[in-house]
């Protein structure tokens, strides 16, 4: 996970199998959406040497003025100008935009969740397969070093047979735009925020056979809060708890995990593991919306580098469309559990049908 953000695109994007067509031509990437997360995509795409064209219903000129790139006025214009598309829009728009990009023959990066419903993610994964196009869901937590270490510790057998896993993710309620608060559009905290840890739990502890969830909401329309607890039973017998908080606006963004197996345990707390602690009168507190990251090892950069490397013929990334689809299915099972008030059994044959794809690479 050493990252050299200044590295040239040609060095990184040259492919080992001789497909050098793009090696000396910048990747042409279309970024759709200019909201919060685009601030964590555009600068890194530019650093990777890509020519980036930005389309958004709103905010594209401001975003481009901040980082660079080229504003385009229509999606058609964007699709005509690029080879790859990065969809960084609200969840409920992912399906139609990703589908449109795939149908135009583009390889696609999609922000998580891959789409809102099971039918939508199934359709997108199948479509990408059918067209022979790459489709990468941006589960960026897989690129955070502390989670990479967890995955490596588990895969190496150092922790033995996993027994009990806890994950927590806590921050401010995203009120800057209204669609997060609409559960029909966003899927709420489980589909938007906790899907990160749902994906990580499945990545490290394997397929999930049962899901249950409880949730609470409080506050008011201007200062809402939301929380949920999700329990997962893995096919191995391991059990996972995932906690999510969208709290008041002053709440810093923090994550935790604690994983125990028969041979050892590994735990991490972002609040505890800090290498720079300042108490300066002149400085604002940390953001409640995004984790603090080390710029020398920026996970968003590492993620986009891995995806764009793959676009250029490089290695298969650590997260597949099938896995993004499975994370959405598990999040939707948790939402179903909220409705029924009972745990939801996951159809194991389907979960294992694509075991190879779901093997986390």
């Amino acid at each position: 996970m050493t990252a050299a953000p200044a590295s040239s695109s040609s060095a990184h994007l040259s492919s080992p199998d001789g497909k050098t067509a793009m090696t000396h031509t910048p990747l042409r990437i279309g970024l759709i959406g200019a909201g919060g997360i685009s601030n964590s995509h555009l600068p890194h795409l530019l650093t990777l040497g890509a020519d980036v064209y930005v389309y958004s219903e709103a905010g594209a000129p401001e975003l481009v003025a901040r980082y660079g790139g080229t504003v385009v006025d229509t999606i058609d214009e964007l699709l005509a100008a690029v080879d790859f598309v990065d969809v960084a829009t609200p969840t409920f728009t992912h399906h139609s935009l990703v589908k449109r990009a795939l149908e135009a023959g583009k390889h696609v990066i999609s922000e998580k969740p891959l789409a809102r419903t099971d039918a939508e993610v199934d359709e997108l994964a199948a479509l990408a397969d059918e067209l022979g196009l790459m489709l990468f869901p941006a589960h960026v937590v897989r690129f955070f070093p502390e989670y990479v270490l967890l995955k490596e510790a588990v895969d190496s057998g150092r922790l033995g047979d996993l027994a009990v896993l806890r994950f927590s993710r806590s921050g401010a309620f995203p009120t800057r735009t209204p669609w997060f608060a609409d559960r029909a559009l966003s899927g709420g905290i489980i589909m938007d925020q906790m899907i990160h840890d749902i994906d990580i739990a499945r990545w490290v502890a394997g397929p999930v056979v049962r899901v249950s969830a409880v949730t609470s909401q409080a506050g008011d329309a201007t200062t809402p809060v939301e929380a949920a607890h999700v329990l997962l039973t893995h096919s191995s017998g391991a059990i996972s708890h995932i906690a999510g908080i969208w709290g008041p606006s002053h709440l810093p963004f923090t994550t935790e995990y604690s994983v125990t197996g028969t041979e050892g345990s590994l735990a991490h707390s972002s609040a505890a593991e800090r290498n720079y602690i300042a108490h300066l009168a002149s400085v604002d507190g940390p953001s409640g919306l995004l984790p603090e990251v080390d710029p020398a090892e920026n996970p968003y950069f590492a993620e986009l580098r891995e995806f764009t490397d793959a676009f250029a013929g490089g290695a298969v990334p650590r997260v597949s469309a099938a896995e993004g689809a499975e994370a959405v299915r598990l999040a939707n099972a948790a939402l179903l559990s909220l409705e029924t008030g009972q745990p939801v059994d996951i159809d194991l044959p389907s979960a294992q049908a694509s075991a190879a794809d779901l093997d986390g690479k």
Binding site: D161, L162, A163, V164, R166, S168, S170, R210, S212, A213, V214, T215, S216, Q217, A218, G219, T223, V225, E226, A227, A228, H229, L231, L232, T233, G237, A238, I239, S240, H241, A243, I245, G247, P248, H250, L251, S258, T260, G261, T262, G264, S265, G341, Q342, P343, D345
Partner: protein, 348 residues
């Protein structure tokens, strides 16, 4: 009733629970307390029990509960196996002694109800040993919550992790313990939540497994529980015996409470000095902080002297037990269980 011109007579029933040692070590140093202990019955040969245990601690001992009750104690501390709490509490109540019962209150709802009725009928105090309630950090959390500084609480996350108890074999015998990690560790945090919010649990979901300490365990060693409360709050508790035998400390208890005005995280046994052992590289951990048992005993003794029922009482003991029973039922069936059904099942 007790008058303060003579020492308070406190009897300890059984050395089965490892906490008996801690209570005795505190009580034997109190000049206003006269202590008598008894630990009758057959004991595992490998465990220091009975008269030998009392002698090691330097406290008075009698061979039978008949002799213990004939001493006419003002108060009794019940530290027997969980499944024997009912018989011992009923016996103490019948003798007119006030009672401090080790947690969990019992291993069945029926036993718990009978214990409350026995104390009620005898007019004696029944207190349940939830010492974490007496942490100054909990008092601070409670004060900040009561002052509105957390706003409206909407979510809680707690963990009570420890080693698989090894000093006493009965902890892993479900016949005597009532189960595994669920019955051992869910009640502390359930008690804290009731003390904090005063709300009733509605439904419980639990998942468990027996992967850790598989060679010794006869019940679940890992458990995760979610609870929905009638005020809309959701809570999750990790009750696993996930601390390995080789760990530097027994484990700990922590809660993180999220409210509309902010969050508070409490690590009740967290503060410690840390180092490394030169020869092995293993961590040295030296936890410090007040002994919550001391405050618990002090509250109980005050209550005995004044004759007023303290908290945590048998009622919260029973309600937290019901959460455990619902969690066990959920783990068994794979269903979410209504806590009311635990009590209702008894009536039907």
């Amino acid at each position: 009733m007790h008058t303060s011109d003579r020492p308070l007579k406190i009897a300890v029933m059984s050395f089965a629970h490892t906490h008996a040692r801690g209570y005795i070590e505190l009580l034997r140093n109190m000049p206003s307390v006269s202590l008598l202990t008894s630990d009758p019955g057959e004991h595992p040969a490998t465990e220091l029990r009975g008269r030998a245990f009392a002698e090691q601690l330097g406290v008075e001992y009698v061979d039978s509960y008949d002799e213990l009750m004939a001493w006419q104690p003002d108060a009794v501390i019940v530290t027997s196996e969980n499944a024997r709490h009912r018989a011992d509490v009923e016996r103490a109540a019948k003798a007119g002694a006030h009672i401090l019962c080790e947690k969990p209150l019992a291993t069945s709802h029926e036993d718990g109800v009978a214990m409350l009725e026995a104390a009620d009928a005898a007019g004696v105090i029944l207190m349940v040993a939830f010492p974490v309630r007496f942490a100054s950090t909990f008092a601070r959390l409670k004060a900040e919550y009561d002052a509105g500084q957390l706003g409206q609480i909407f979510s809680v996350r707690g963990s009570n992790n420890g080693k698989l108890p090894s000093e006493r074999a009965w902890f892993t015998d479900p016949e005597l313990s009532g189960g595994g990690a669920l019955v051992d560790h869910v009640v502390h945090i359930a008690d804290l939540l009731e003390a904090l919010m005063g709300t009733a649990p509605v439904s419980v979901t639990a998942v468990t497994n027996q992967k850790l300490h598989a060679e010794r365990a006869r019940a679940e060693t890992a458990g995760l529980v979610t609870i929905s409360y009638d005020n809309g709050v959701i809570a999750a508790i990790d009750c696993s015996w996930s601390q390995p035998d080789t760990a530097a400390t027994w484990g700990g208890v922590s809660v993180t409470v999220a409210g509309t005005a902010g969050t508070v995280a409490v690590d009740f046994f967290g503060p410690r000095a840390r180092g490394l052992d030169t020869a092995t590289g293993l961590p040295i951990e030296a936890p410090y902080g007040p002994n919550f048992d001391e405050a618990l005993l002090s509250r109980f003794i005050d209550a005995v002297r004044t004759g007023t029922q303290p908290q945590p009482d048998g009622g919260v003991g029973l309600r937290t037990l019901d959460i455990v029973l619902a969690a066990q039922e959920s783990a068994r069936t794979g269903r979410t269980v209504a806590v009311a059904d635990i009590a209702r099942a008894l009536v039907e």
